[in-house]
Amino acid sequence: MNPVMKKVLGSSVVSALTSPLSVDDYLALIDGRLSLSEPRGRVTHAVRQTPDSVTLVIEPNDNWQGHRPGQHVLLGVDLDGVRHSRCFSVASAPNEKSLEITVKRNGDGRVSNYLVDRAQRGQLVYLSPAEGEFYPEAKTAARALLLSAGSGITPVMSVLRHWITRGELHDVVFIHYARTQADMIYAAELQDLARRHGGLRVETVFTADGGERISEASLMRLVPDLGERETWLCGPAGFMDMAEPLVTAHSSAPLHREQFAATRRDSAQGEGAVQFLKSDIAASGESGSLLEVAEGAGLKPNYGCRMGICHACKCRVAEGSVRDLRTNRVREVRDTDIQLCIHAAAGDVAVEL
């Protein structure tokens, strides 16, 4: 949007003219992507690199503040009338105008599966500002290990592209685990990069085609100087659980980790009784996260990503014992705001809902 126009539309006079509706409510008549403050975008390319994935190039509106390499974004789409939001790593380098994300099909992931099957040019997407701590500081470590599995390749790819565009690629080993060659996204681009850049060595392991799963021996064989490398790690929870101790056992250099996609453990089960104070409803905490318990009790708390990223479901707990579903850590809380989607009851809990 033209900056002058944006200033006029954002003025208090125009907002008084549209009150109590917002200027955005009227802009939506022209184009769903238009907004004075919310980052939104439109898909300009949808490329299916593998049968089970789609790479989307998204042109954001001017409320998109950019991202750092390795950060993720909460992406929302309307599915069968309902706005669903999930987190995806931004794979493109930060200086590019559009942003690129790659989505892999995943079991019951409605958003991912929809995007893989149906996303096409013109699709409107709702965005959040970029979030996450998985990004390199301005000064790059001389030697790095990029270690990823499955769709965990995307944030790592963003870090790699960032180093390349800035000419900071010195000595990087990139190890990626995929099920098969056909399942691997960015395979062609990585091969091409390795050919053109002497400082990059790419190792791919296809576990369903005889490749060895990550182990101490295999890791030390692939990267004997692990101890001298700063590590960037991203992959499914099971992979992270195996890889992280191997890296920390051999390297005291910094380890950056991005817990990707389904950060929650499977056993999202609580215990005890949950009391919803404002609505005066009691429910068993067993059925899942506090968000699921609340929804099961007929309440409609706000939610977004349902995986602990967006904080939309944050809600005050008057008192009680809760378990963080990402770490399984149990803590006692009192008058504390917690994210309902990634906490389960670990005893009786009183929630202000």
């Binding site: 006079v13 008084a16 003219l17 009150s19 109590p20 509706l21 955005d24 409510d25 009227y26 939506a28 008549l29 309307d78 069968d80 009338g81 309902v82 706005r83 669903h84 409609k300 706000n302 939610y303």
Partner: protein, 372 residues
């Protein structure tokens, strides 16, 4: 028609389960079709507002002024009735779209959204037609039931009602102040806080409709101001008409606190049915009424997307027939005639209507007979 005495407690619970089944069926079917419906309504409302205000700027031409007023009235009616009222009931919360979420939506009405959600969603929809609990029974200024004590000022209530209709949104805005409780169980301080909230909300509409848009029109100040006043008036009269037909028609039942104590879900459904009345009409008429023409369905399912009322109404009517219950419906002229009759009748002192239902000792007794 009077309260049904032929149903046993078990019958009433079975009736309730059938109503629940209708609700569940729709709930499981919500999707794209519903989203398309509300988006088309939002679009129509916004386009008609923009077009209406633009035409008023050319208001020196009588056809432009008239069509401008028409479109702006349409927009305000759609926004208050089919969008605002229904969004604030949470009918569209399932879409997870922040633009039409009950927690954040605010309507183009002088009544603050959260006060409305208290006086209407909670008080009126929970305690529907229970005299002394449901403050919508006469809004604290009209006598709408024999169970309300007659006072001399009720002689003037035809005039009071006409005034309320003219300034209806202001009546709605002041409603949650609960003036009649002042000095009893509500302090002046509490009311003062609310009054400040009301003014903070109301002045936005005053500023927009009566200052900014007329000023923006420059030489067209007067026609724009007059157009905006007329559009707000039209919306007031229309919403008064529709809302009064929902609960104050001739055959609608009123309840007292005693007979509704410890009500079951089935009994609650039954009270919603007996306390509400529908209007027959065309689809555009239903949309303009915010589907409050399906007042019965709205009271059974306050958070069901409104356009679904049209689809479930035949099922509700069929269930009512099987249980021998009155499904109160009729054209606007007949129903509003009943409202006028009630306003006039209640303006005169009446003897308290004696309850003719006989008490019974059977455990499976008709529920309203038990209360007698």
């Amino acid at each position: 028609m009077s309260k049904p005495t032929h149903l046993s407690k078990a019958d009433i619970e079975a009736f309730g389960r059938e109503i629940d089944a209708v609700r569940d069926e729709v709930k499981n079917d919500l999707g794209e079709r519903d989203a398309r419906y509300i988006r088309s309504i939002l679009k129509t409302q916004r386009y008609s507002e923009v077009a209406g205000r633009a035409l008023l700027m050319a208001g020196f031409l009588p056809p432009a002024w008239l069509s401008g007023v028409g479109l702006l009235s349409l927009s305000k009616i759609l926004e208050n009735m089919e969008i605002g009222h229904n969004v604030m009931h949470g009918q569209w919360d399932w879409m997870n779209d922040p633009a039409i979420d009950s927690a954040t939506y605010d309507w183009d009405n002088t009544c603050p959204a959260h006060q409305w959600k208290h006086s209407h969603n909670y008080m009126h929809h929970t305690f529907t037609n229970i005299v002394d609990l449901d403050r919508d029974v006469g809004y604290g200024i009209l006598r709408m039931s024999e169970d309300q004590a007659w006072r001399p000022q009720h002689l003037a209530q035809p005039l009071t009602a006409a005034t309320l209709a003219t300034f209806f949104q202001w009546g709605v805005a002041l409603h949650d102040l609960e003036v009649e409780r002042l000095g009893k169980d509500k302090t002046l301080k509490e009311a003062a806080v609310q009054a400040r909230e009301i003014w903070a909300k109301a002045r936005k509409q005053v500023l927009k409709d009566y200052v900014l848009f007329p000023a923006l029109a420059g030489p067209m100040f007067a026609p724009v101001l007059a157009g905006n006043v007329t559009a707000n008036l039209n919306r007031n009269l229309w919403s008064f008409l529709i809302i009064f037909c929902g609960h104050f028609t001739d055959e609608v039942e009123m309840f007292d606190v005693e007979e509704t104590r410890e009500e079951t879900r089935g009994q609650w459904y039954l009270r919603q049915l007996l306390g509400s009345s529908n209007l027959t009409g065309s689809v555009p008429f239903h949309i303009l009424s915010g589907h409050l023409s399906y007042q019965i369905e709205h009271h059974l399912f306050p958070d069901m997307p409104s356009h679904r009322y049209r689809e479930v109404a035949p099922k509700i009517q069929e269930i009512c027939e099987r249980y021998g219950l009155n499904y109160n419906t009729g054209p606007l002229t007949k129903q509003f005639g009943g409202v006028v009759k009630r306003i006039l009748r209640m303006s005169l002192p009446h003897r308290r209507k004696r309850n003719t239902l006989k008490p019974t000792t059977s455990t499976d007794a008709p529920v309203y007979a038990e209360a007698a």
